[in-house]
Amino acid sequence: MSKINFLKPDKSNLYTFLYLGTFLFFVSVLDVLLNSFFSLNITGFLPDFLSFLLPLIIGFIGLYFIRIELSGIKQLDLLNKHINTNNFNAVLSLLIIFIILKSIPPILNWFFVEASFAGDSKDVCTGSGACWTYIKVWMRRFMYGMYPNGEQWRINLSFIALALLGSVGYFATDRFKKYLTLYYVVIYPFIAFLFIFFFISGGPVFFDFSYGIIAAILSIIIGFFIPNKFKFYYFLIVPFGLYILLKYFIFYEELIELGKLDGLNWVETGAWGGLSLTFIISFFCLIFCFPIGMAFALGRRSGFPLIRYISIGFIEFWRGVPLITVLFMSAVMFPMFLPADFFIDKLVRCIIAISLFEAAYVAEVIRGGLQALPRGQYEAAKSLGMGYWRMHIFVILPQALKLVIPGIANTFLALVKDTPLIFVVGLLEIVGMLNLAKTNPEWLGFAMEGYVFAAIIFWIICYAMSKYSYNLEEKYKTDR
């Protein structure tokens, strides 16, 4: 009996076991560490099989020895509680520690130590590591697709401007807070559309845009001197008046010259690509799919049977088919459904298709939120004399949307992750550009670097989005 007691760690001989166990544990970790970082095998004299398993066995014994309940040493108790609760957990913990130790050196080597960063041709990539030169050389293509190099400032400028305009909400004072929803739902998408359509796309249509900008700036400057009483009417009438005045009566010829800005060339959407296209498509689909989805969610819960069945049909149809067939449809089938002389751009067709597809998912998510609201909310709103629309806008939707923030965020994440599928219609965003670059005869054999690069970018975007949605959820969480 005493022998078993001797082998069983407990408080009476705590320090013996503690030192012995810690020593054994560290020996096992050290063995793996030396093995993986310096390719030293200190147990090399043993048979292969034993040498392979030895760290696990030693570590296991070590962990067994230090598994002392209520030892009174804080760190030890914490360790035991977290990674060393029983034999099974101890083995798993050891395995994970070993896997991490084993996989760090190859990954570090590939990413940094053996990788080549300098130079601008394939010749520098001789090491066994990654060839980041490839990414560096092709960076512009991965970011902007086939967009002409000299014109890429237009994309940058638009994105910066839109980012600045998008962050207005953080600086808004209380006085303007109530207009924020209007701004983000109506005005901001409209500005974004103008930017992307007239600025990134460019071309002759740009004249109109320049008139608009001049009219807006002029009217804002004059607006400072207008008494508050008339400001509302002033901003309702004057900008549009100025716009028409500028366009048709004054400065006609002169402004055409000004509006040209010396050649904002028209860049057809087929040349757009890379990460910027991912952003453009995600942005527009995100804007469009939300209201459509909301409408169908309300339609599915509507009291009118015909509207309900149409909504159900719409939702179930889009949810039942894969996105790739929807894109196929938009590419080969949709042109057949339009008049022969009526042409819709490929990119626009894509955005419509993806928006409708994701709208069905958004609709189901919002329906979940609507169903989760207690009936009392509807009845209370009705008893206050609210009609259908007022009830939904002021009582139901604010609560329901709050409930479904995680679901909506997941749908938007899915949307961003689905954008690479547009390769089906021949548009090349970042993954498509990677596949194109991969087949370039001068740069064969760097598929891995490209995919890792794109994976990191997508991971950062998606992870940031999911964390942001989590924050939103916490922010709007109200106790009931």
Partner: protein
């Protein structure tokens, strides 16, 4: 009457709008097809397809009809979906349980896996496995045999083929075992409900599943032989394995990425399901003297499954739909074979795209009907 008229207005407007849009589309389609001289119809399905498919489960070559090409694509889609679903379920359940582990390292490791794989687009993962990872595999002539019988090479995975004699007897024995297990389960449940006795159903089931097929080998005259793939030289530098079953790299890359990606979602479903069972349930079960195994089997799992199964079915559906991404790496699934090659050859865009969509649609609607039925069956019967 007045009330009814008020109801009718919005509905009529909606229906009118839908009818107008569809009418506009059909009218244009008719005009366009007349202009281009295309006629509408599904007669092409019986014509000779005259294209080849690299990998098919049923016998197929260019002399077969378009309908058979459609079947080839559909079967390939189902094959990759089934493989993906099985792998994703196994991995997802393990990871989901690992995320609930009290062990800090295991927990974080599982969380890392989930966060990592679900935040990268599936298409990118497929490309990664197909174009980057699987291209690093050895050529057929350099491949090391795995377990001495199968070879993982750049041209795919070559595994031994089973050659059966009297396969039907073996099959019947398995069917008999399954029927016997179902009978025993029902009986065991009855015994438990009436007398409170527990029967070791799992042990008996495993025993039956092992013994009956074994008997079919010993008595029924079933023979099983393996046909091991053998390296064969096609040209001076070109080798290929002959015999056995070959799984093309496209299938491997697709099944791997689909299951790795979907497993993250299944893991989250499993975690949510097990967490969704209240702590009080476990404590109550323990306090009436059930053993931990019984608590898991009789109290937690039945309640957790009720939460787990609906979203998991949804994930299975997503996996099936996502398998259409196969077109990107030229795995001959429904989209590639039918909506790709067949459409190119016949030019019948409307017919082919509609058949493809209808196939996926009926697949998902039938699964969701099944799921709704199951949901109703297991829902808590509230009074």
């Amino acid at each position: 009457m007045n009330f009814k008229l008020k109801d009718l207005g919005p509905q009529l407007i909606t229906v009118l709008a839908v009818v107008l849009v569809f009418g506009f589309f059909t009218y244009n389609a008719q005009v366009n097809m007349e202009n281009r001289g295309i006629d509408f119809g599904y007669g092409f399905l019986s014509q000779e397809s005259s294209f080849d498919v690299q990998f098919s489960l049923i016998e197929y070559d260019g002399s077969h009809s378009y309908f058979r090409a459609y079947l080839v694509g559909l079967l390939n889609t189902i094959l990759v979906s089934v493989i993906g679903i099985i792998l994703a379920t196994i991995l997802g359940v393990i990871v989901g349980i690992a995320r609930l582990s009290p062990n800090y390292l295991i927990n974080k490791f599982a969380a890392f896996y989930v966060e990592f794989f679900r935040n990268i687009p599936l298409l990118l993962q497929i490309f990664f496995w197909y174009f980057a990872a699987l291209r690093a595999l050895p050529l057929p002539q350099d491949a090391e045999p795995m377990f001495g019988i199968s070879f993982l090479t750049i041209k795919g995975l070559f595994v031994p083929a089973f050659i059966w004699q009297n396969f039907n007897i073996f099959f019947y024995s398995i069917v008999a075992a399954i029927i016997a297990i179902i009978v025993i389960r029902i009986h065991a449940k009855k015994v438990q409900e009436t007398q409170g006795k527990q029967t070791p159903v799992l042990l008996i089931s495993i025993g039956l599943l092992l013994i009956l097929p074994l008997l079919s080998f010993l008595i029924g005259g079933v023979r099983l032989e393996f046909e091991v793939p053998v390296l064969k030289q096609l040209a001076t530098t070109s080798f290929i394995y002959e015999g056995g079953v070959s799984l093309p790299p496209e299938l491997i890359a697709l099944a791997l990425s689909l299951s790795l990606y979907t497993a993250t979602f299944i893991a989250e479903c499993v975690r949510a399901g097990i967490q969704g069972v209240g702590k009080g349930q476990k404590e109550a079960a323990a306090s009436i003297g059930l053993t931990p195994n019984q608590v898991l089997k009789l109290v937690i799992m039945p309640q957790a499954l009720r939460i787990i199964i609906p979203p998991t079915t949804n994930q299975y559906l997503n996996l099936t739909k996502n398998s259409s991404l196969a077109a990107a790496i030229a795995y001959p699934d429904l989209v590639l074979v039918f909506a790709g090659t067949a459409l190119m050859q016949t030019g019948k865009a409307i017919e082919i795209v509609s058949i493809t969509m209808f196939t996926y649609l009926s697949l998902s609607i039938s699964i969701s009907i099944l799921m709704n039925w199951y949901n109703k069956k297991i829902a808590i019967q509230e009074k």
